[in-house]
Symmetry: C3
Subunit: 291 residues, 3 copies
């Protein structure tokens, strides 16, 4: 499991009765079961306990169950879809908490977190994902909405990644990323990422295009020295049509952020600041640790 | 704990927007605490985490607490009543998931799962059960609705079992199996079972009668060879009066099913097919494992 | 974790359809994570699973996260406020379950459990508490309502304790103990306690005053012999004005109780009886154990 606490500033919390700062606090406990058959097929499952500041109780995330070997694996339940599993969306994440998560290219204006992603308190949506890995090559395919005897709109996705030495590239496509129940309402998304390491520098680009809404390109870099790592990103969103991603004004917007982590040996001091497409600022500072 | 996943077919899911198939997925984690006094009295408790396909989060079942020795034991809380604890209702269970659970004689037409039974996501209903075991003889008595300072209708039950060699017989009676709050609304149930082993064959009969509703007799058998076991059952329900169990038409109905398990050494491949009193068909196939 | 079960009598449950007795049952599982940095700073977190009689499912309490050393510690989240952390409110607790909890001086008439206290099923209210300990001296300060970006009324508290040999004294003050959102509605509380040990006898006094409501003084004592401990308390509440604490009649009220625990070596037999300010009687008897 892991824990973290600290302070968060959010400039958007400026209504009457609101406070721009709050105390962040999170605890995560993973309960994992694993085993293997006589023929070497591995299997397991995960269920997570999670508590955050401001909750009225802790939560139990829905589980996922998996089976496979080094080459093939099937994962069923509350798990990432193919894109989130393969694309390097998170290399530019800054701060203790991730702040606006503006460094994830799948967050385009008001369209946030559409893609199937493991949910710590809920259920990603009954995902089934198949992974295939051989050498540096990996392929994932996924669908969702599989557990309810309904023929409703599902997100179907495919993504591939290729690793060569210090560099990894990935690309993927999700049909009906927004789980629309009518064909006319479906929004498809495609994404790609490329990242690698040059001595103490890490660099990543990730790009996503959401049909009829807009596209977002993110460039991020990290520099590690002694026990400290500094990470920064800049992201640019272009709307497909004026206001289609909730930006309007000029139809495009730049987001950016910078953060650091400093190892305390067992725990990590982390902080950062970011600015999102609404031109609001978030900042945080705190400590996180694993146990 | 344990996990399972697979595919389920249900012919009854044929409305517009429905799919007859779904992906089954379950994870169970038991958190058990046990200890003993200096005089050798054992005690303990169980709390269960459970997640299934289609849930919006995992669940925490209510706990049970027990204390006793080889001869006497008291169990308090979320636990089976006397009948479910003693009667061999489940020997004919088929498939990965149990399908219609039509092999349980206490499921009579539309009257399903009335008896106090451990609930993996909820609470059986604040049961208190006393167990007595000596030699091959066992006796259980139970009541429920004990935890709420209310004098509402409780299910009170008594059941006994006797084991001799490869054979076990059991019988029991539950007053107010439906937890009616008025004496006029009470439905009593009695059940019996007999089962045993002949070489690689296992055979079981279980029978239940629900007052004013109907009765159900189930015959099941299993045959084990190498790593495979095949199980089949046939069940016949007779209504006490036309339509009293929701069957009507002829006033009686036959249900049946067949399934198999095949050990993978650490995991089990399981599948089956069954037909219930509504003449609908369910089938499933998948893998389950313990960890 | 721990468990308990037994029987509870409550004379106030005398309405139609009610029963004065119920079966008590509780299971508690603490999931703790701990660690330390290279420089010896310790950190950790706790999340609790809890199930009680009468619940519809088990519960996951919100978590707390802490970091510090022998001298300083910060605890964030679902945790006791400064008063409950320092004042010896609970030395006079009787019975298996605590019964009316009338021995806690912060429970004044109808004003029950206002102070920030760790919640086993919920969240104390996003408390941040700082503890300082040196020699026998300890100081705690706390606030709450820190996790929601709201500037609503918080309970702010300070308390100190001092231990010398077998005796400990403590005092504390909470501003806005009732979390009122307007200054006019705020009720402040102050408390003190003193307790110690004389051979096999333990004695404690604790006193609380809730602004505009009333005050309560509690005297309790315990006597231990062989495997048995007997504890008794008497508490007197005075209203600030007639009916201000919901007592009325004479404007003051005496509460009392007596209980025992008897070690079974691994488990404990416990029982007690108490009378509260409404002149109702509760009694209980049962077993509790840790595992």
């Amino acid at each position: 499991g892991s824990g973290r606490f600290g302070i968060v500033y959010d400039s958007s919390r400026d209504a009457a009765g609101q406070s721009k700062t709050k105390i962040e606090r999170r605890m995560t406990v993973n309960i994992d079961g694993t085993g293997a058959t006589d023929t070497g097929l591995e299997f397991g499952g995960r269920i997570r306990l999670r508590s955050d500041e401001g909750d009225t109780s802790g939560a139990v995330g829905s589980a996922n169950i998996w089976m496979g070997n080094d080459m093939f694996r099937i994962t069923v339940g509350n798990t990432d879809g193919a894109l989130v599993n393969r694309i390097a969306y998170f290399d530019g994440t800054v701060g203790l908490t991730g702040l606006h998560d503006a460094d994830n290219s799948f967050n385009i204006g008001t369209f946030q977190s559409l893609l199937n992603t493991y949910s710590s308190r809920g259920n990603a949506g009954d995902v089934v994902r198949l992974d295939y890995n051989v050498g540096g090559f990996g392929l994932s395919v996924s669908t969702d909405s599989t557990g309810d005897h309904l023929s409703n709109g599902s997100e179907d996705a495919i993504a591939a990644s290729y690793n060569f030495g210090d560099w990894t590239v990935a690309a993927g496509y999700a049909k009906n990323a927004n789980n629309a129940t009518t064909a006319a309402g479906e929004l498809d998304m495609w994404s790609l990422s490329a990242g690698g390491q040059i001595a103490d520098f890490a660099v990543n680009v990730n790009y996503s295009d959401l049909e009829n809404v807009g596209s977002k390109a993110v460039l991020s870099g990290s520099y590690a020295f002694d026990a400290t790592t500094v990470t920064a990103f800049v992201a640019h969103t272009d709307e497909d049509s004026f206001g289609s991603a909730g930006i309007g004004a000029t139809g495009d917007e730049t987001e950016y952020g910078i953060g650091f982590t400093h190892s305390l040996g067992g725990a990590v001091l982390a902080g950062g600041i970011s600015r999102d497409y609404t031109e609001e600022t978030m900042a945080d500072l705190g400590v996180r640790f694993a146990f």
